[in-house]
Amino acid sequence: MAEKKAVGNKAADNKKAAVKAPAKGGIFSSRNFKGDIITIAVLVIAYFIISNLKLSSLMTGLLVPVCVYIIMAMSLNLTVGILGELSLGHAGFMCVGAFTGVIFSRLIQSAAMPELLKFILSILVATVVGAVFGIIIGIPVLRLNGDYLAIVTLAFGEIIKALLNNLYVGKTADGSIEMNMSGFKNVTDSAGKFVSGPLGLTKIPKYATFEIAVVMVVLVYIICSHFIHSRDGRAVMAIRDNRIAAESVGINITKYKMIAFVLSSAMAGAAGCLYAHNYATLQAVKFDYNKSILILVFVVLGGIGNIKGSIVSAIILTLLPELLRGIGNYRMLIYSILLIVIMLINWSPKSRVVVQRLGAKIKGIFVKEKAAV
């Protein structure tokens, strides 16, 4: 009885809340559509502003990585925010995508094709490979309920890193492919060495440009947003909110968990490929546990389940450590304090109310302006 009473009280509280915080856009309400258009417009405008600015070489070097982290954050948000499962090895998918993407682009490097086409092809290959690894991990793990995905992806990230750190892939003089875990025997020409164990990827063609990166960000954003606001996305969120109820209305739990997870890992593969083609060399150890956690931090601070928030937090949190370089050793101190502050603003109920009110006020200003016009 006491329990029922508590539920009743909660309902009363909710009633109050319902008056204050209504309408989280329906599918066809212009809100989702409007939001998408606004987000894409902001991204495009930002692109034009940035590409016309005179940036320091440090900042120019950061442009593509920032885009990569935006994509990674959005794709991880699909797993963590929309599917509601924790993935601690997202860098593993990125790593797989980076390595297969580069090996493929090195293989077709001499082919008579425009550079852009070669790059698009290798991104596609990386996407597919990312998806395949998503399926391999998803089939056994997504049937289970609980935190198993976190454990398995954590292990996956480490295993992939260790494997690729010992992998040798190269092309011999007569054109055959050599691949093993113990060092080159037949490949002598350094130009034929694609992956050289701990040295990692070498002589990567520098295909990645800021333009391509921005296009990919926009594409991934559209895919995420469209997926969430579709029949499949609703099914995935229903599973997240209540698995038993979702099952009772006839939703195939494993299938929709798989779709969301594979989509997420495929996009991580594509991001890895983009990331790798921004450098001349890249080692597997770069894709370690810290990188997975870093991306998870972007997602948590941008708001779990909030794709736009992921974009903002990925930009700020990638640029912040670089901008703070000037203050030397205090950099990480300030960075961590900022993380805590953002987290408090994001997740404490009181600050949420304040933020909501501020949001409503800002909205009020715009609406008034419109009315005046």
Binding site: A23, K24, I27, S248, V249
Partner: protein, 252 residues
């Protein structure tokens, strides 16, 4: 043969016979009540009917089709939908989306056309939205359709759960304590709603309830469970006067 025919249904958890030799026949379009003291096994019967538990013995036949031991989603597709004793809505989704999720198997388009917004997406989404709004209207929830489900008042959450169950177009609707936690006014309103959906959707309803007024008011027949066994069965008015039933509820 009855529309819903349950024979010798039984399940044991460890050494405990939670439900034993449970028989039930429901006619098409009937409103049937399942009552009994706490722990009698009523919800366990529901869980077996919806495939959450697999019965150890017995059979369940729905409209001539044996659905014993099938998976939950297949049983739902075969035409059984339910609500839950403790409300299980999709909290973060809107009221409209909650119903749309339940239309999942009735209106389809591929993942691909969802992501790339092919014409089939717009067409099917429009149908889904119209059908959902129609359903919400029946329950008077059309004004709340853009609210988050968790922001609805308690009574409306119960109604939304029923709306969601009905969206799967069931032959048999299972309501697990629909009036739990409701005040007398809300209960009266709920009774009207239940009668209304029976007429409007032609659905057969089996409900678990502790509120005797509601059971006496709308159920045509009831089965009383006690300690996992059927204590009495038949016309509501007669059964509720049965001294055995009174004894089980109130004690000696």
């Amino acid at each position: 043969m009855a529309y819903i025919d349950i024979k010798h249904l039984g399940i044991t958890f460890g050494g405990l016979k939670a439900v034993d030799d449970f028989n039930l026949e429901i006619k098409k379009g009937e409103l049937y009540g399942l009552i009994g003291p706490n722990g009698a096994g009523k919800t366990t019967v529901f869980n077996m009917l919806t495939g959450v538990y697999k019965p150890n013995t017995g059979s369940i036949v729905l409209d001539g089709r044996d659905i014993t031991g099938m998976k939950t989603i297949d049983i739902n597709k075969a035409g059984v939908a339910r609500t839950f004793q403790n409300i299980r809505l999709f909290k973060e989704l809107t009221v409209l989306e909650n119903v749309e999720v339940a239309l999942h198997n009735k209106y389809k388009y591929s993942t691909f056309s969802g992501i790339f917004r092919l014409p089939s997406f717009y067409k099917v989404e429009k149908q889904m939205k119209e059908r959902s709004e129609e359903l919400l209207k029946v329950f008077g929830l059309e004004d709340a359709k853009d609210f988050k489900a968790s922001n609805l008042p308690y009574g409306q959450q119960r109604k939304l759960e029923i709306a969601r169950a009905l969206a799967t177009d069931p032959k048999l609707l299972l309501l697990d304590e629909p009036a739990a936690g409701m005040n007398p006014n809300e209960t009266a309103e709920l009774m009207e709603t239940i009668s209304l959906i029976r007429e409007k959707f032609g659905v057969t309803i089996l409900l678990i309830e502790h509120d005797m007024k509601l059971v006496a008011g709308i159920c045509e027949a009831v089965t009383v469970l006690n300690f996992g066994r059927v204590l009495a069965q038949g016309e509501t008015a007669k059964v509720l006067k049965d001294p055995e039933v009174v004894k089980a509820y109130i004690g000696d």
